[in-house]
């Protein structure tokens, strides 16, 4: 089973020195022509950083020829000064090797100062590999990005489940790379720009390789949960014991979405795309209603941006009460039915759930 010659460490060295670097790049993640929300959010934040540094904002779109073009038009509308598009059959679906090869070649050719990616499963897979290929620094899962006095990117991260915040910089290497959690930055509004199409530039990369690679045999994606844009998120934990009916009814009544803790997801009660927290999504709803959730720090970082947090838990000592505006000690199966009744008898239009602006 073992290969004849075991692999050995390959040292490639830096791609280019930081003083030659310019431009803020955003990898625009798209699947079948649909751009990820986090990529839109990054284009918004990237615009801020670009203005601060007086450098161009460049979007990079990789994909099958027919899909990459759609993503590129989106990126141009969202404010990128330039959109580099690589349409190639080998890029039709995300795969580590061709995506790393493509971005590596573009980065070496154009020498950006900053490269931002969404902290999605594919974004983290790609960023972790690419950073070593380029021999540069990467900060994972940032919750904010700022520019320091000397023009360095300051990547803000929270560690130890949200208790500790740190600022990470990358001074001696380029590009300065960071992945950012979905949901932490607002989405910019798309604007109609007269010369949008002129900003789109096809780029070519060499993706022929004899090396044996990972092959995608099958890919299944279910409908996406609109968690990051919902005005109300009803979160269920282990305390639901798998029964999400009341939570779904509550979410529906309030035009909201259902989220879950990792324990609930691991139990298979609900899809992983609905997991809230450090390794799930960060939500910023007007109201978060947590039911049967203990309040581990890995969960609460995901709702710290909520305007109002309501906790329903049968244990008066649950840590979530420390992170809540309103708490009810009680069995969720007894607390929710009268609440639902109350909200439903209420004049429906009083519960206008506007979309959160930004």
């Amino acid at each position: 089973m073992t290969s004849a010659t075991p692999p050995t460490v390959v040292v490639r060295g830096p791609a280019y020195p930081p003083h030659e670097a310019a431009g803020i790049w955003v990898w625009v993640e798209q699947h079948d022509g649909v751009v990820e929300d986090v990529s839109r959010e990054l284009l918004g934040k990237g615009r801020d950083l670009a203005s601060r540094l007086a450098q161009p904002l460049v979007a990079v779109v990789l994909g099958a020829p027919q899909h990459a073009g759609v993503g590129a038009a989106d990126a141009a509308a969202l404010g990128a000064d330039e959109v580099l598009v690589v349409g190639h059959a080998a890029l039709a679906h995300y795969a580590t090797d061709p995506y790393t090869d493509a971005l590596d070649q573009l980065v070496r050719r154009r020498k950006p100062a900053i490269l931002l990616l969404g902290a999605t499963p594919d974004g983290r897979d790609l960023a972790g590999r690419l950073a070593v290929r380029l021999y540069t620094g990467l900060t994972a899962d940032c919750t904010d990005l700022t520019i320091g006095p000397s023009g360095l990117l300051e990547s803000h991260v929270v560690g130890f489940g949200g208790g500790i915040a740190a600022i990470i910089t990358c001074q001696r290497h380029a590009p300065q790379m960071a992945t950012v959690r979905p949901g932490v930055f607002p989405q910019p509004a798309a604007t109609v720009r007269s010369n949008a199409s002129e900003r789109i530039r096809p780029a070519s990369v060499d993706l022929d390789s004899a090396a044996e690679r990972v092959r995608v045999l099958e890919r299944q994606v279910h409908a996406e949960a609109g968690l990051t844009r919902a005005p109300v998120v009803v979160i269920g934990g282990a305390g639901t014991r798998g029964d999400f009916h009341l939570l779904e009814a509550l979410a529906e009544t309030l035009d909201g979405e259902v989220g879950a803790t990792r324990v609930a997801v691991d139990q298979g009660w609900i899809g992983r795309d609905r997991q809230i927290g450090q390794t799930g999504v960060v939500v910023r709803p007007k109201v978060a209603i947590a039911c049967g959730v203990s309040g581990a720090s890995q969960l609460t970082v995901g709702i710290s941006g909520a305007d109002t947090v309501i906790a329903i838990n049968s244990d008066a000592g649950a840590p979530l009460f420390d992170a809540a505006d309103y708490g009810v000690v009680g069995d969720l199966f007894r607390v929710l039915p009268p609440l639902l009744a109350e909200l439903r008898t209420d004049q429906p239009k009083a519960v206008t759930a506007e979309r959160r602006p930004a």
Binding site: G128, L217, L339, E342
Partner: protein, 269 residues
């Protein structure tokens, strides 16, 4: 199948504090544990060995205080354990850590024979980057698959390969991964086994091989602080969001009315 599992010991997150004077992390009062996501990598390794035979080797980079945690892994059923430990490895970011672990893997292959697959946890609860597994794969120039929830044994085609299930955003995919390769195992992919009481005594005296930088022929410029591309410019206690902490009590209908009022007010704000 020869399997290597990368594990690390981490302080229990809820016990790590801040030293207000030095403004650095205070781990002194925190007890440690095996990084919880690594337990899932261990379980996947044991289950794979149970199915197809072979060995499970543990690899870690860290201070000598990691030894008892590697012994715990031996008590769970691992065959041998290696700790990369050297003051020069300290203060490493993921670039230097993945290089060091890759050098350790190179040396394991040279000393104990080639391995087929390296399993890592999804992320570490202290580093929380998920970058180390792809980093190791890149340093060794071999394939990777992250967020793997299941391994199927190889399908016997010409080149050795395994088929895995990988979690992606809103779904999953099946991949055929040529070996040798590095996989990171999705947290929650399985239920980790408890240590084997019969192995406890054996494990307590079992040898953990400790290698320093010279033993793995690590380039001093690529390890520890020197080999790191990122610097921690500032650390502070995260400003916790101020919450009202208002507890509602009384009959359920009254509580429901109050809550409904709170929700309505918040939505129209």
């Amino acid at each position: 199948m020869r399997i290597v599992v990368c594990v690390k010991a981490v302080p229990k997150p809820e016990e790590v504090g801040m030293n207000p004077e030095t403004r650095t992390l205070d781990r002194s009062k925190a007890r440690s544990e095996i990084n919880p996501p690594d337990m899932h990598a261990l379980e996947m390794a044991f289950a794979l060995r149970d199915r197809v035979g072979g060995t499970v080797t543990l690899l870690s980079m860290g201070p000598p205080m990691f030894v008892p945690y590697l012994r715990l892994g031996l008590a769970m059923g691992a065959d041998d354990a290696y700790l990369l430990s050297d003051r020069a490895f300290g203060a490493a970011d993921t670039l230097a850590t993945s290089y060091t672990l890759a050098k350790g893997l190179e040396r394991i292959a040279a000393t104990a024979g080639p391995w087929d697959v390296v399993l890592c946890g999804e992320e570490s609860s202290d580093g929380a980057t998920a970058q180390v597994p792809p980093g190791i794969a890149e340093w060794l120039d071999i394939p990777q698959a992250t967020y793997v929830s299941e391994i199927a044994p190889g399908d016997g085609q010409t080149a050795p390969a395994i088929e895995v299930r990988r979690e992606i955003k809103g779904g999953e995919e099946r991949l055929r991964v040529p070996l040798p390769a590095v996989l990171s195992v999705a947290a929650g992919a399985n239920v980790p086994r408890f240590f084997d009481p019969d192995r406890r005594a054996i494990a307590e005296s079992a040898e953990v091989v400790v290698w320093d930088a010279a033993a793995v022929a690590a380039d001093p410029a690529l390890i520890g602080a020197a080999g790191s591309a990122t610097t921690v410019a500032a650390v502070e206690s995260a400003g916790r969001v101020e919450r009202r902490h208002e507890m509602l009590s009384g009959p359920p209908e009254e509580t429901a009315r109050t809550l409904a009022g709170v929700i309505r007010a918040a939505l129209s704000a």
